[in-house]
Amino acid sequence: MLAKSSVSSWRLYKERYLLQGGKCSKCKRLFYPKVHLCLCGCREILKINFSGKGILKSYTQVMSPSWEFKSQGAVFVGLIELIEGILIIGQLSDTTGQITIGTKVMAVLRKIYTMGKEDIINYGLVFIPDI
């Protein structure tokens, strides 16, 4: 089955907790997640922690979630343009009332789901209204 060990989450903690991506040292292009090679061919990709602040550009309410999210019933997922200028897909939370495109959002650490027989908790960043 698809269940992975918790190690597969552990090795991604910088990306998932710190929103760590990459910045090409030559053309300054930004990436999330990190890449090994820039589109310009440069191999020197600097690590950069994105702010987590941005604007909601699109969203969807997932009413038929995948296996790991099944117990949550429905999940809101958004397309966010970070203030650094790149797009990122993230889970939306604390969306009381109407979701509006153009809303300012910010990333906060939350429980995402549990995995495996041990119910190991996976944490990650979700986006909430930046009020």
Binding site: L2, S58, W67, E68, L79
Partner: protein, 386 residues
């Protein structure tokens, strides 16, 4: 990209035989049964002797996840009692298209004269939520799945952007599914043979807003097979003259958010431009097309990426080419590994004039458009007769 070198018929890939199983919830059949049924249909259609098959490719995305069965190339060879080279090709929902391309490459390389390509997926043995997780393997799993996104969710994000940009109403979007279901009713092999209305689409269960159940292709079981050969082999057989005039493929970023634009699929634009160029035709020359409508939005966007119209409202009302005459993925069904092969089967039947109640009269040039992921891998084939 596969480049068929010039317009000389000797460099074309002959289509000797085609066959498809029923698509649907086929609980009586396992993955091997489906492969066998499609293989036998195509063999009977082709007039090829088993011993003449040089190579087998099997297109499949999730065999070991849905059925516990990997090693599908050897399985397909075993079913026929053969011991020829055989391999599985995986490119998410474009597995079928890429397997066909691999078959073409094998023939053009000179290593094979006759190649059997079977696409198969056995999806309904697992919980749909589990299937949703597996299908997210077509995206950048560690990041996109972790957000709670499903594949319909990625298209939900795209749909909201596209419909707002081009002022397309929810009712207009629903017309795509209504049209494909009206076509699928006439197809005895279709998964869902039921006419629907715009109101049915709007009132259906929301899967990932704004997309409802009736905007999304179903989870299906099924298999399709084509038998391809070199021109030199085909002309010695009882070949009806239909061939692949061009086959082109392109890829884009797995991570949807890393695209330059979410309102178009660059991979479709690149693959189709190359396919038209190789076949020395333009989009206006296409009479009939099977377009990858995993979601209603993907058909609209693909219509203009394939050059049939401009983006936006124009994409809603095109008379030519005829699109998804056998029901598309929406009604015909979407056993993901089989889909790209099944599209070719349907186009060949249309060009032969053997499409039954789905037949569109007078069609001469057909196109298949097979997409894996949210526009990540795309394969475009152009098919015609001598």
């Amino acid at each position: 990209m596969t480049k068929i070198k010039n317009n000389n018929i000797k460099n074309k890939i002959a289509i000797l035989g085609v066959g498809s199983t029923q698509y649907g919830e086929l609980w009586h059949y396992g993955i091997g049964d489906l492969i066998a049924q499609a293989q036998i249909k195509a063999l009977d259609d082709s007039g090829v002797n088993l011993k003449e098959i040089d190579n087998i490719y099997v297109a499949n995305m999730c065999g070991e996840i849905f059925s516990g069965q990997a090693h599908l190339g050897a399985l397909a060879s075993n079913i026929l009692g053969l011991s020829v080279p055989a391999a599985r090709i995986e490119a998410a929902c474009a597995s079928g298209g890429v397997a066909i391309m691999s078959g073409i490459q094998a023939i053009l390389s000179g290593m094979s004269q006759v190649v059997m390509v079977t696409g198969v997926e056995k999806m309904t043995d697992v919980d749909p939520a589990y299937a949703a997780t597996a299908l997210m393997g077509a995206g950048l799993f560690d990041y996109e799945h972790f957000t709670g996104a499903t594949f319909p969710a990625l298209f939900g994000l795209i749909t909201r952007l596209y419909t707002e940009k081009y002022k397309i109403t929810r009712e207009q979007l629903a017309q795509i599914s209504v049209k494909n279901h009206a076509n699928g009713v006439k197809n005895p092999l279709a998964h869902i043979r039921k006419e629907i209305t715009v109101q049915d689409v709007l009132r259906a269960t929301v899967i990932a807003s704004p997309l409802t159940l009736l905007d999304c292709a179903p989870i299906s079981d099924g298999a399709s097979t084509v038998i391809l050969s070199s021109y030199d082999f085909a002309r010695k057989k009882n070949w009806d003259g239909f061939y692949i005039a061009s086959c082109a493929s392109a890829t884009d970023t797995l991570a949807l958010a890393q695209r330059e634009s979410l309102l178009e699929f660059k991979a479709t634009q690149k693959a189709s431009a190359l396919a038209y160029s190789q076949a020395r035709i333009t989009p206006k020359d296409i009479d009939i097309a099977e377009v990858h409508d995993a979601f209603s939005t993907s058909e609209i966007i693909s219509r203009h990426d394939l050059g049939f119209c401009a983006p936006g409202a124009q994409a809603l009302n095109i008379k030519r080419p005829v699109i998804n005459s056998t029901g598309g993925l929406k009604s015909r069904g979407h056993p993901v590994g089989a889909t790209g092969v099944g599209q070719l089967v349907d186009i060949v039947n249309q060009l032969r004039g053997t499409a039954g109640q789905c037949q569109i009269p007078g069609v001469k040039v057909g196109l298949t458009h097979n997409m894996g992921g949210a526009g990540v891998t795309v394969v475009v084939n152009i098919i015609r007769g001598i």
